[in-house]
């Protein structure tokens, strides 16, 4: 158990990307095979994380820590119950994404695979980082491969979409960076020690008026990533233009980074500000649910429909997370996984259609079920999973989310339940128009049903959907301890400041919960 599993998982893709650089770009199948095997190996290794994960322990596990640059910048990674499944989701979906683009990506295969692998490193890095600096580095790194994936292999408006994506995301994350600096210097001022360690940061007790700004900066970055209304417009563009695998990863994993950011950083770091903004955030999330649903209803392009459905679903997830109770947060995390699977699978299905028809407009389809019965079944299940049909994964997450929200705020929950109706409306309507009815487009007659490869990458997702729908305990149990700890942390810190508020009204009013922070091996004096 001493092997640095997390590091291995994080950096094998990077090594793989470097390896691919040296392979002749004409050997496309070799390249694909290597990438696939590599990612599958990573997935298998990552399963050992799950197996060895101690669900009684709320703290990060598989921790690796070594000094890196200094000034508090350390290589410090680990996973807890919150990040465990996000890592697993990533390692699962990347090979699927690679498999799904086996034929779809016909040109520049080598570069494509390299970017995919880089993306995997970045994403896993985001989820395992326990050092704010490291987190930010990975956070930004994920932008680059995605930028290329959309920009090179995307559709007609790919350049607009990809630049919008990058700039929009960066806008938020740069402000977050400033906030990170601020935290960093606050910590330094409070303790005389440089640290980016997230656990040290948790110990900071900040003046609420400062918290407000820092929280806003963090929240903006994450809200854009999620995306919460009204920061969502990059998403449909990026999705529509991205290649299938890009959309899959974008929707299934990258969006989760935003929600994860809230859970890991924005919420526990600034509990007072969180309390203050909770109503607004809740309303925004709620608007997202309804707004996303209504917009999805009228989209003409299947992909942008699914994209807007993501806005709606992520709204529910955020609302659940903001409920700040065990059910809500667990449900939120669980729903993140569900959304990853179901929306990912929906994008895969849309991709399968696109590969055959080279169009994604709903009106160009109709009656596909007749030509592709197997596909119809898969598509149906994915869609139902997204709708939240009991027995499939979506329901478990949805009911937990709703329960959590309900516990926190009945009105929001009552309005949030509309997602149940809207999701059914837009997805079923789309499904009906695409899959059912008479065949109106001659091209549809030539559609071939799924081949083995396509079944191979859809099947695991489908199986997981059933598993997670029927027996969610193995997933939920692993989260328990960490989620409880998170909630305690937020509540505990919140009360802490109210006790000590009168000490000073200064702006730089900071102190730490325990000044005996255990892990500062490097006591560096400030330069100069």
């Amino acid at each position: 158990m001493n092997a640095p599993i997390l590091s291995i998982i994080t950096f094998i893709p990077l090594a793989g990307a470097l390896l691919l650089i040296f392979i002749n770009k004409d050997k496309e199948n070799l390249l694909r095979t290597i990438a696939l095997i590599l990612t599958l190996v990573i997935f298998v290794i990552s399963l050992s994380l799950y197996i060895n994960f101690d669900d009684q322990n709320p703290d990060p596990q598989f921790v690796e820590k070594s000094s890196w640059i200094g000034y508090g910048i350390n290589y410090h990674i680990g996973i807890d119950g919150i990040s465990l499944f996000l890592v697993l989701l990533t390692t699962l979906l990347i090979p699927i994404a690679i498999l799904s683009s086996w034929k779809y990506i016909g040109k520049r295969v080598k570069e494509y695979l390299i970017f995919m692998l880089l993306l995997e490193t970045g994403i896993i890095g985001v989820f395992v980082s326990l050092n704010l600096f490291l987190f930010y580095v990975f956070w930004e790194i994920t932008l680059v491969p995605m930028y290329f994936l959309i920009g090179i292999w995307g559709g007609k408006r790919r350049i607009y979409a990809t630049i919008k994506y990058v700039l929009f995301t960066m806008f938020g994350s740069l402000l977050m960076l400033v906030a990170i600096f601020f935290l960093y210097s606050m910590y330094y001022k409070a303790t005389g020690v440089y640290s980016f360690n997230i656990f040290d940061m948790y110990k900071l007790v900040l003046n609420p008026s400062i918290q407000v700004w820092l929280f806003l900066a963090f929240a903006l970055a994450f809200a854009i990533k999620v995306p919460m209304f009204p920061f969502h417009t990059w998403l449909p563009d990026a999705h529509v233009e991205a290649p299938t695998a890009g959309s899959v990863i974008l929707a299934a994993i990258l969006l989760k980074m935003g929600a994860y950011g809230f859970l890991r950083f924005a919420m526990p770091l600034f509990p007072d500000a969180l309390t203050k903004f909770l109503p607004y955030l809740g309303v925004l999330a709620l608007i997202g649910i309804i707004y996303g649903g209504l917009m999805a209803l009228i989209q003409k392009d299947v992909k942008s429909l699914v994209a807007y459905s993501s806005v709606s679903h992520m709204g529910l997830i955020m609302l659940a997370i903001f409920s700040l109770n065990v059910e809500g947060i667990q449900g939120g995390i669980y729903q993140m996984l569900n959304h990853g699977l179901s929306t990912g699978a929906l994008f895969l299905c849309v991709g399968i259609l696109y590969e055959r028809a080279h169009t994604r407009l709903i009106k160009d389809f109709g009656g596909v079920s007749k030509q592709m019965p197997v596909f119809a079944a898969f598509f149906l299940i994915c869609m139902l999973s997204s709708v939240g049909l009991p027995g499939l994964n979506g329901f478990v997450g949805e009911i937990l989310c709703l329960f959590g929200i309900f516990k926190a705020n009945m009105v929001l929950a009552i309005l949030g339940v509309t997602t149940v109706i809207l999701a059914a409306a837009y997805l079923l309507w789309m499904f009906q128009r695409v899959m059912h009815g008479p065949i109106t487009n001659d091209r549809v007659h030539n559609f071939k049903d799924l081949n083995k490869r396509e079944i191979a990458y859809l099947l695991p997702i489908i199986i997981l959907m059933f598993w997670m729908g029927l027996y969610p305990q193995p997933f939920l149990r692993k989260m328990d301890a960490s989620v409880n700890k998170l909630i305690n942390q937020i509540n505990q810190k919140k009360t802490l400041f109210t006790e000590t508020k009168k000490e000073s009204e200064l702006l730089w009013d900071i102190k730490t919960i325990e000044n005996t922070a255990e892990d500062h091996q490097e006591k560096e004096e400030p330069v100069q």
Binding site: H232, M295, S369, L428, M435, H436, G437, P472
Partner: protein, 633 residues
């Protein structure tokens, strides 16, 4: 013996799974045998469990089998556990029994369809879901079944998805159901908050223990009832059911008549303590049921499509069941559910048989005089019609009267009046159906006539079985007139339905009521006879006389159109408007606008970059004087 009940739902589930995976590769014969056998096995187990149940004391009810904790997070707990008590037993028997008969019937009906396997896998899946619904020991699990049957309904309505109308109808059914489900979910959430559990037992204990105030009970009951309204096609969410007739006829019989649509009734009965506690909610249930019963019956009057007539009739009959539940006669409601299952599925299947004979023709105006061509179908159809009309000594009579009597006894005279009015209408439209189809002139298409043939035994034998039950099923629940002990059905359900204060009428009043309702039923039949046999011109005259009314009825009060115009279209138009104006113009406009502004500033500043030394020097000098000025002043 009794604790094997939990495998009841699993058998069809397993069968369905096998069919899903291997379905396309299996021969039709095998498929049909497996599918029917699975349901039959379930039925057998149900019977065994039923017998077992009768042998154990009431205090041990309900039997509970806890399989595993399903969802558990914080306070939220939902187990995968089944329960078995008299109510469940009735439902399970109906579902598996009627289900089995319909499965058998389907072998013949679907024989030529190329998606044979798909049909049976869905039918099995439906049986599975329905059993989960009735056997789940908590609301969440019930909701699983609730949604599961909705899904199967969606799949089976849209079974012939190449047809636009079928695909549309399926979608409509699902979405309308979802509206109800949203309410249902909220109901569950409220229960969770106030009870802390979703197990029926715990809920009942909480109600019994007085942990729930009346207003909360009303709120929860109404929310749950929203779900029931959706599922059981009551006003205002009934619109999906007539369209659902796009599905194959066995589906209409099983799902949209006998079982699924009654889920709402089952749920209300299951939660009877809640409704009783609330009072208000029960009244609303009764009222909604009564209005729906009457309203749907009026629409059935003018329809020409056999199955649609039956569909409206189903809505109407469901209304009856809700009347029963609403007025506190839960047992009567369930009793009607049970009898209705037989005669309505009989009617549907007979209609299917007619269709089968007429190569799929459904329009009654193109039938007539079929009596002689369909010698086996006609009598059973007639039995069904008599049963539903409330003619004495057939099953419908008993259950309907139990409801009406209770309504009257409860003092709900409006409800009772509507019920009675509905009786007339029911008898009228059913016999209108019979007369138009089997009697009078032949109005068949010549082409259709060429292929006219009676259905095969695999279809007619189930019909006969159902006809038999339509006649005798009612005898398990004889009204008080015949002696208190004879209401076996009510007694059996008593452990579940703990009626605290049942209003009792004296015997003579009850007799009078029964006679009255029999009279009005017969009056309805007579009216139909006058209209369609004796003076066939009357309908036309009436139409000419009240064109608006006829049109209104014929077009089903334009409800679909109104919904479309007031809800669907505004939503779509509104969304489009918001998308175009807010998403694209405001948000994206802001983004692109800020990008443009940035670009504009870039342009503005680069304007100074003229390339002329003089200008550069000018800026330089300006910089110097500003800098010096800043430093010095």
């Amino acid at each position: 013996m009794t604790d094997i009940f939990w495998i009841i739902p699993l058998i069809p589930g397993l069968s369905s799974l096998i069919l899903v995976i291997f379905g396309t590769k299996l021969p039709k014969k095998y498929i049909s045998i497996q599918a029917c056998a699975a349901v039959f096995a379930s039925f057998v187990v149900s019977v065994i469990s039923f017998i077992g149940l009768k042998q154990i004391p009431h205090e041990a009810y309900p039997l509970i089998k806890n399989l595993y904790p399903w969802i558990q997070s914080g306070d939220f707990k939902a187990a995968l556990s089944f329960q078995f008590d008299p109510l469940t037993a009735v439902m399970a028997l109906v579902v598996t029994g009627v289900g089995f008969i319909i499965h058998v019937y389907s072998i013949g009906y679907m024989a030529k369809d190329k998606s044979y396997a798909r049909f049976f896998q869905n039918m099995n899946l439906f049986t599975f879901s329905m059993l989960i619904l009735v056997m789940g020991s908590n609301l969440v699990l019930m909701f699983v079944g609730w949604e599961g049957v909705g899904l199967c309904s969606y799949l089976l309505i849209g079974f012939w998805f190449e047809k636009h109308s079928a695909a549309n109808a399926g979608k409509k059914a699902f979405i309308v159901n979802r509206i109800g489900d949203a309410g249902f979910i909220l109901g569950i959430l409220f229960i969770f908050i106030y009870v802390g559990s979703v197990e029926f037992r715990a809920i009942n204990e909480a109600i019994g223990g007085g942990h729930i105030t009346q207003s909360i009970a009303t709120l929860i009951a109404l929310l749950l009832f929203v779900g029931a309204v959706g599922k059981s096609a009551q006003i205002p969410l009934y619109v999906w059911l007539p369209d659902a007739m796009e599905g194959p006829t066995p589906v209409s019989a099983l799902i949209h008549a006998a079982t699924m649509v009654t889920a709402g009734v089952y749920m209300v009965a299951r939660m009877n303590l809640l409704y009783t506690l609330s009072g208000t909610a029960a009244n609303i249930v009764a009222l909604v049921g009564a209005i729906t019963a009457f309203y749907a019956a009026t629409m059935a009057l003018t329809q020409n499509d056999i199955k649609r007539v039956l569909a409206y009739s189903t809505i109407s009959q469901l209304g009856y069941m809700f009347i029963g539940c609403g007025v506190g006669a839960y047992a009567a409601g369930i009793f009607h559910l049970y009898t209705h299952a037989f005669f309505k599925s009989l009617l549907f299947l007979s209609a299917g048989s007619v269709m089968h004979a007429l190569s799929g023709e459904l329009n009654m105006q193109k039938m007539g005089g079929l009596k002689k061509y369909l010698p086996r179908t006609f009598p059973v159809f007639l039995i069904g019609a008599i049963a539903i009309s409330g003619v004495p000594f057939l099953s419908g009579f008993f259950s309907k009267d139990a409801i009406l009597t209770s309504a009257f006894a409860n003092g709900n005279y409006l409800v009772w009046a509507l019920g009675i009015a509905t009786v007339v209408l029911t008898a009228f439209y059913m016999f209108r159906l019979i007369f138009l189809t089997f009697f009078g002139q032949e109005r068949l298409d010549p082409e259709v006539k060429k292929h006219l043939h009676e259905s095969p035994p695999v279809m007619t034998i189930p019909l006969q079985i159902l006809a038999f039950f339509s006649i005798v099923a009612g005898y398990v629940g004889l009204p008080l007139v015949f002696g208190k002990k004879l209401n076996l059905f009510g007694h059996f359900l008593e452990p579940v339905i703990k009626v605290s204060h049942e209003a009792h009428l004296n015997l003579s009043t009850e007799c009078l009521l029964i006679l009255f309702s029999v009279a009005v039923a017969l009056f309805g039949i007579y009216l139909a006879y006058i209209f369609y046999i004796k003076k066939p011109q009357t309908p036309h005259n009436l139409v000419a006389k009240f064109p608006t009314l006829y049109k209104l009825l014929y077009n089903k009060y334009y409800v679909d159109e109104i919904y479309n115009a007031t809800i669907v279209q505004p939503m779509i138009k509104g969304s489009e408007f918001v998308y175009d104006n807010f998403d694209l113009k405001v948000i994206d406009g802001t983004l692109n606008g800020s990008a443009k502004t940035t670009g504009f500033f870039g342009k503005f500043f680069s304007y100074f970059q003229t390339g002329l030394i003089k200008d550069y020097a000018l800026i330089f000098l300006l910089g110097v004087i500003l800098l010096l000025g800043y430093l010095l002043f």
